[in-house]
């Protein structure tokens, strides 16, 4: 599996994960919980690479 990052949906604030390479493309992320498509800049993630991979943050 490629390197993954956790993403927090700006609408429902639930977490899911994606390949980190998606951050380098122009694609929108898709929230599996509320169906929102959104750009990275819209997410409330902070320090995703270092912080959000922590297993304790998995819901």
């Amino acid at each position: 599996m490629a390197d993954i990052v956790y993403i927090i949906c700006p609408n429902c604030h639930k977490q899911f994960y994606a390949e980190s390479i998606m951050r380098k493309t122009s694609s929108k992320f898709h929230c599996p919980y509320c169906d929102l498509y959104f750009f990275e800049k819209e997410t409330t993630n902070k320090g995703r690479d270092s912080d959000v991979k922590e297993p304790k943050r998995i819901p």
């Binding site: 599996m1 899911f16 994960y17 390949e19 390479i21």
Partner: protein, 465 residues
């Protein structure tokens, strides 16, 4: 009658009534159906379940769905006309015997193809009318989990050859899905089209005889038509008919319940997944191609087939992989007895191999041959006295016949599975070989046993009710 899903369901209903369940009560395709399957699994029950009244994506009930078709090896034994008790090595060998005898498909006209009883084309297509299953909590959407057919283009590496393989397809909109392809045959076919900025025709096959899907899960050379392979597995020609929208030379199975026709669009990528995979983990969201759906063909009162992926239903689909490994090991070690890819490793990551060791080094030859099939991360080779379908016996052999310094080896940098959560970005993994065979030509301590004459004399039923 040609072999198909319904004929097979009747067969298991008659042969293993305790392994067949019909659910009449209405249930939703979104999580509810899988919750019921999970409850059964929690009780270690894996019946084939026919749901007769499933609500589709619009909330309309009355749809038939089958799941757990592949969840026992007994089912698969019956699928190749063996008694249900012959689910161990006999099953692997019978499937292997059949793939060595491919059968060319039989082309039939539309009027002889039950799948063409109903054709929905163009703007009338709406896949929300189907009971597409939503399986696990983090899944991005409902997913199709069955096999697709693609055809090598005239300029491709195997012109005109039909390829069948499993690919997850995510519901996107009434006429669109996403698709994930590992870099194997379908991906190469798609790339051949995409390099020319052309859409790649594909057909999704929902609901056929189990051997259609065991064939789909094999990895023959690109030049081998998997329709021929499926014919071998069925023991009769696969009946095919020209597609509705993909051209008359694109042939689709005539006896499938549903065939959904579409095109993978070139040079478009969009978020696809997360999706709960056969590894029992969610594969991450990634940029993947999209499919435009062009037509739905289906039988009258069609049955929607679903693989409860990441559970026994996908573990034993590894039978196709098991036969691929068997073939490769047999070529290296003629005294091979059996190969088993156990569900404890998702039916794909570990292999237990039983051989009759006749010369030094044979267990390593067997393991190396097995490892040429890319997903394996552990190969244990044992002697003839070990039942490889009983994991306790395999690990007893490891515990009592292995000195790690001599009989355990690690190979590094083998091409692996992109879905393996522990693998790196280069998709290379390490593999462990354990030679758990006894030394050749030297005395070795004997297994304990109660004398046979006393076992024959003392019957359990004479002492215990």
């Amino acid at each position: 009658m040609s072999k198909n899903l319904r004929e097979f369901l009747n067969k298991i209903k008659d042969t293993i009534p305790s392994g067949y369940l019909e659910v009449d009560k209405e249930i939703d395709a979104k999580f509810e159906l899988c919750a019921l399957l999970q409850h059964l699994e929690n009780e270690k029950r894996f019946p084939t379940v026919v749901f007769k009244n499933v609500r589709n994506l619009k909330g309309d009930g009355g749809h038939a769905v089958v799941s757990n078709l592949f969840a026992t090896r007994e089912n698969l034994a019956i699928a190749v006309d063996l008694p249900k008790e012959k689910w161990r090595g006999e099953l692997t060998q019978e499937v292997y015997r059949r793939i060595k005898n491919p059968v060319i498909p039989k082309v039939v006209g539309e009027n002889e193809a039950p799948v063409k009883s109903n054709k929905i084309i163009g703007d009338d297509v709406d896949i929300r009318n189907l009971p597409i299953i939503r399986h696990h909590e983090m899944d991005a959407a409902p997913y199709f989990t069955m096999a697709i057919v693609a055809k090598h283009p005239e300029w491709g590496i195997a012109p005109g050859i039909h390829n069948v393989s499993f690919h997850r397809m995510q519901y996107k909109s009434p006429r669109e899905t996403g698709i994930h392809m590992s870099p194997l045959h379908t991906w190469h076919i798609f790339r051949s089209y995409e390099e020319r900025n052309l859409p790649c025709p594909i057909a999704l096959i929902i609901g056929h005889h189990p051997m259609f899907y065991v064939g789909a899960n094999m990895n023959p050379a690109a030049g081998v038509s998997e329709y021929d392979l499926v014919g071998g597995l069925l023991g009769e020609p696969l009946r095919v008919t020209p597609s509705t929208t993909l051209g008359s030379d694109f042939l689709i199975p005539a006896d499938a319940e549903f065939v959904i026709e579409g095109e993978i669009l070139p040079n478009i990528r969009e978020a696809e997944a997360p999706f709960g995979e056969w590894t029992r983990y969610y594969g991450p969201q990634r940029d993947n191609p999209k499919i435009k759906i062009k037509a739905i063909n289906h039988k009258r009162d069609p049955i929607f087939l679903n693989v409860f992926i990441g559970h026994r239903d996908s573990d034993y689909l590894g039978l196709g992989w098991e036969c691929t490994v068997f073939k490769r090991v047999e070529e290296a070690v003629p005294t091979l007895h059996e190969v088993y890819l156990p569900p404890s490793a998702c039916g794909g990551y570990h292999a237990y191999i039983k051989i009759m060791k006749t010369v030094h080094g044979q267990p390593i030859n067997a393991a190396l041959a097995a490892l040429t099939w890319g997903f394996l991360k552990l190969v244990v080779v044992v002697d003839e006295d070990i039942d490889i379908f009983d994991e306790e016996q395999v690990w007893w052999a490891v515990a009592t016949r292995v000195q790690a310094g001599k009989q355990v080896q690690i190979l590094k940098g083998i091409r692996g599975s992109i879905l393996d959560p522990s693998i790196g970005e280069t998709v290379e993994h390490d593999a462990v070989i354990i030679d758990a065979t006894k030394p050749l030509g030297l005395p070795f301590e004997e297994k304990i046993r109660v004398p046979k004459e006393y076992m024959d004399k003392i019957k359990l039923r004479d002492f215990i009710e």
